[in-house]
């Protein structure tokens, strides 16, 4: 699962139709495997614990006339070499492994979990000490040590299994430490501590509940391992002494009769195997619930065949004959689910830079990804067209798109530090596509790679070529990513938040570099950003997106100087220094409210839930109207507001201030 803070729309896409979570036990049991597993475990435990009351025969009761019998009405599971009833013996034998394995789990978690919580809480120094000690424990051969314990204290199963718990606690600590640390960072636990909660309470109230799933999964797995070990020890003769039954010894016994009475090994082995399988299946069911079931493996996907939009596209097609890229009425949706982007249109001429801006969750990243056919699994283009140099990229096969990617359209992603493969050197990652795109040999490719690195402003190209991604700074990594994007000499570059992850000074450098590239090479660029400063800095055109649609578009100068849509105005009001061309992060929080999630967009204007000027007419469908010469604005009251010279008030004094504009509006109606 991605660790990146993607658009909210991506989050929705990551779990298409995800079932309501946190339904706990009932959710685990709804999975057939989970239900069966829990049922079997319950049955074996109850049947074993109550065996003395219901078993048809005593464990030592011999029926010498019926030795090694197959299942019959008297002996449901058959008999052993002394004619003892297998059913009675199997379930009588169950008590010890079922209980002693629980002891192992309790001891292992009783030690490992508190240690992990302490290590996560006290920070790196304590953690290092505990971790070193547990590493030593982990490296000890636990089975052999158990034998040593048996040699010394004799066969005392519960104590032996407790010792095993101590040995395994190191492994439990390992797993739990990782979880506890990530929970603490996620939960802002330190904030809770500042608020005066004691450390024990913080752990019990905040940390442990979030770890519950992992604990349950690990405990169930460990329980299964414990069962196998108790049975294994009994198999070796380190279990209850005859005539008391044990699963392990019954199987050992069966092994000497495997030639003339193979049935003997079936019942005991099956009960033991099924019980362990049930414990593991329960663990899988719990884990599966937490992960929303394993995501389907990525398969080659073809966008669904599109028929409907053709007529609409035909009528709009010749909008801009010079455009190299033209997106028409693009709709992107979760398969059998909500729309994420609807009716997006824009055009891009050669050598120009288009900005897609908006808050996160507005669909700008989805739109940009669709240009390369790189939508997440479960998300696809449902309608519209992406005209790229005379061909429609919508509905292309993966193979046809592969030919376009890198060679004609390239991508710069928002997290340079994770965009490069950590296992390969920069040289490999650059020369490999260079050789593929340009058909050159190894030496020539390396020369070109060094040249590309110098072109993106890297001075000691040779050293960087020899480096691995983790040795690069963020800015350096982004330059390498840009060089990588240039290896195929593309005509269009898609830059998805190219500077968001970088320091402010580095941001400016990267923007300067992009501007120089456009100037020198005639590249077209689509920049995705939430930062109006970036847009003002390098974009020629801009499309402002809100809740999956374009609300205002036009040249960057026109839109930023004279925004007509209240949302654009609000964005600008939240970021007053834009005209200086200095990138300043937008304080988006100053627009009250949040973007409505996909699937709950209001009819008509989607900004109506947050707009200061919203009226009834905004809530029924209306068309966009042309604006800014080449663009459009999607606000039913835009003219009215412009005529009245009303614009967004950055700091409304509560809702009471908003109606102050309505008299004007009312007058013009």
């Amino acid at each position: 699962m991605s660790v990146l803070p993607l658009d909210a729309a991506d989050d929705v896409a990551a779990e298409p139709g995800s079932p309501a979570r946190r339904q706990g036990l009932s959710e685990v049991l709804r999975r057939p495997g989970g239900l069966l597993a829990a049922g079997w475990l319950l049955f074996v435990v109850v049947a074993s614990l109550t065996a003395p009351w219901w078993r048809p025969y005593g464990v030592a009761e011999q029926d010498l006339a019926n030795r090694l019998a197959l299942p019959s009405a008297e002996h449901w599971l058959g008999t052993d070499p002394l004619g003892r009833d297998l059913l009675s013996r199997i379930f009588t034998a169950g008590t010890e492994p079922l209980l002693s394995s629980a002891v192992t789990v309790l001891v292992a978690f009783g030690i490992g979990l508190p240690l992990a919580l302490i290590a996560a809480e006290r920070g790196p120094r304590v953690e290092r000490v505990i971790s070193r000690v547990t590493e030593v424990f982990l490296a000890l051969p636990s089975t052999i040590l158990l034998l040593a314990v048996i040699g010394v204290i004799g066969v005392r199963t519960f104590i032996i299994m407790a010792v095993l718990g101590v040995l395994i606690s190191a492994a439990v600590y390992r797993v739990m430490l990782g979880v506890a640390q990530s929970v603490r960072t996620r939960l802002y636990v330190d904030a809770a501590r500042v608020n005066g909660l004691g450390s024990l309470r913080v752990n019990v109230v905040h940390v442990l509940p979030s770890m519950a799933t992992v604990i349950a999964v690990q405990a169930a797995q460990l329980y299964g391992i414990g069962l196998l070990i108790v049975a294994g020890l009994a198999f070796l003769g380190f279990g209850p002494a005859e005539p008391d039954p044990s699963w392990g010894f019954m199987i050992q016994d069966a092994s000497s009769y495997v030639f003339n009475a193979p049935w003997l090994m079936v019942p005991t082995g099956l009960v033991l195997a099924l019980t362990v399988i049930a414990a593991n299946e329960l663990a899988d069911a719990i884990a599966g619930k937490a992960a929303g079931e394993a995501a389907p493996a990525r398969r080659r996907r073809r966008s669904p065949a599109l028929t409907a939009p053709l007529d609409g596209a035909a009528e709009l097609a010749p909008a801009d004959p010079d455009a190299v890229l033209e997106v028409r009425d693009l709709t992107i949706a979760v398969d059998d689910g909500a729309d994420l982007v609807t009716g997006v249109s824009f055009a891009l001429r050669p050598g120009r830079v288009l900005g897609l801006v908006g808050e996160s969750g507005c669909g700008k990243t989805m739109t940009a990804r669709s240009l390369l056919g790189l939508l997440p699994d479960g998300v696809s283009v449902r309608g519209g067209a992406i005209h790229w140099r005379g061909q429609d990229l919508v509905g292309r096969t993966e193979k046809e798109l592969t030919a376009v990617r890198g060679r004609e359209i390239a991508l710069i992603s928002q997290e340079p530090m994770v965009a490069l493969d950590p296992m390969f050197s920069v040289a490999y990652q650059l020369t490999q596509p260079i050789r593929r795109f340009r058909g050159v040999g190894r030496g020539e490719a390396r020369r070109i790679a060094a040249e590309l690195l110098r072109n993106v402003g890297i001075v000691d190209a040779e050293r960087v070529l020899r480096s691995y991604p983790h040795q690069l700074s963020g800015g350096m990594a982004q330059r390498v990513c840009i060089a990588l994007a240039l290896t195929g000499e593309p005509q269009l570059l898609i830059a998805d938040e190219p500077t968001t992850a970088l320091d402010v000074t580095v941001q400016a450098e990267i923007l300067t570099l992009l501007r120089a590239l456009v100037r020198d090479t005639g590249l077209s660029v689509v920049v995705v950003s939430h930062d109006l400063g970036v847009v003002a800095d390098i974009c020629d055109d801009v499309a402002v997106m809100y809740a999956g649609t374009v609300v205002e578009s036009g040249t960057a100068a026109a839109v930023l100087d004279a925004p007509e849509h209240p949302y654009t105005q609000a964005l600008l009001a939240a970021n007053p220094h834009v005209p200086d061309g200095v990138p300043v992060p937008v304080r988006l929080a100053s627009i009250p409210g949040t973007v409505p999630p996909p699937g709950s967009w209001p009819a008509g204007c989607r900004f109506a839930t947050r707009c200061q000027f919203a009226q009834d007419q905004c809530r029924s469908p209306f068309p966009a109207r042309p604006a800014h010469a080449t663009g459009s604005v999607f606000c039913v009251r835009a003219d009215e507001l412009a005529d009245a010279h009303v614009s967004w008030d950055a700091d409304p004094v509560g809702a009471a201030h908003a109606p102050a504009t309505t008299p004007t509006a009312g007058a013009s109606r």
Partner: protein, 313 residues
């Protein structure tokens, strides 16, 4: 890199020391004594006391401990209380048996598990579900039960392989190989399942990485993304699980050696535990720990070769 290896060396030595200390303390915490073990149940208390005195059992614990360490460094693990043989010589014969089973089983688990795991991750759908479910069952099966089943099918019913017993390599290489086959297959069933799960999860995780998206955006052919980039990324967890697997097989071989009458380390451990042969017990623990530690060090080298971050550290 050097600092990393030095740290791992220190850890390794610490682990062996810990094993010696733990087993030493364990043996001395008992209420029986080596004299009693050696002389059997008929011995008079006076004779036991005299025997313990002769064995040096009553000397101060630190003296005994450092004597033992000194002997250990010289490769002397003492003599068995039961048959008086040199423990070091006995174990030197046994380690190759256990090691070859563990090694073969690990290699076979690796090959089979990676093929299955990669297939599941790449193909998806019903095949992936089959592999996941199958491996979930396979890793839950008790080895001794699987072993008997295999003996029943492969040796008794089909007669392809010998049921039990061990043929030394020096006597008959082919016989040696066939005598190990059923034990190795038995261990591989569970081992391959674990490797398959790890490879499957690792590859899926690798394919979900941001850098894979970069590769896709560059039009990199799908085979290269999967088998060069993603597989390399997934190799780290797979290699470490293979190491853990070898260690688990090595330590856990006691059951398989018992079942197939193989003269390995585990069998010695079982015999020593059953007869409270203290020096032999300590010897088995120490030798097993040594092997584990060496394997861990080799594993560190492999990881360093695979992971540029470790190499640079």
């Amino acid at each position: 890199m050097l600092a990393f290896l030095a740290r791992r060396m220190v850890m390794a030595i610490g682990t062996v020391l810990a094993a010696v200390v733990i087993s030493f303390l364990l043996v001395h915490a008992t209420d029986t004594s080596p004299g009693a073990v050696r002389l059997g149940t008929n011995a008079t208390p006076e004779r036991i006391v005299a025997e313990n005195e002769a064995l040096g059992w009553n000397r101060p614990l630190p003296t005994q401990f450092f004597d033992y360490l000194g002997d250990l460094v010289r490769g002397d693990l003492g003599t068995s209380l039961i048959d008086g043989r040199s423990i070091a010589a006995d174990l030197a014969d046994r380690v190759p048996v256990t090691a070859s089973i563990a090694l073969f089983a690990t290699l076979l688990s690796g090959v089979l598990g990676i093929v299955l795991g990669v297939t599941a991750a790449v193909r998806g759908g019903r095949l992936a579900r089959l592999i996941t479910t199958g491996s979930g069952v396979a890793l839950s099966l008790p080895v001794f039960w699987v072993g008997i089943l295999l003996v029943y099918v492969l040796a008794l019913q089909l007669g392809w392989l010998p049921a039990t017993g061990y043929v030394p390599f020096t006597v008959d290489p082919a016989g040696w190989f066939t005598s190990l086959l059923i034990p190795v297959i038995t261990l591989t069933i569970g081992g391959a399942a674990i490797v398959a799960r790890t490879a499957n999860a690792g590859l899926r995780q690798a394919l979900a990485q941001e850098h894979v998206r970069t590769l896709r955006a560059m039009g990199t052919p799908e085979w290269r993304i999967r088998y060069v980039h993603a597989l390399r990324f997934a190799s780290l967890p797979v290699v470490s699980v293979l190491g853990i697997q070898f260690i688990a097989l090595f330590g856990g071989s006691v059951i398989i050696e018992n079942l197939f009458a193989l003269p390995g380390l585990g069998q010695a451990g079982q015999a020593a535990a059953a007869s409270s042969d203290f020096p032999a017990l300590v010897g088995v623990v120490v030798v097993a720990t040594l092997v584990v530690v060496v394997i861990n060090l080799l594993l560190d080298l492999v990881v360093a070769a695979l992971d540029p971050k470790v190499r640079a550290a």
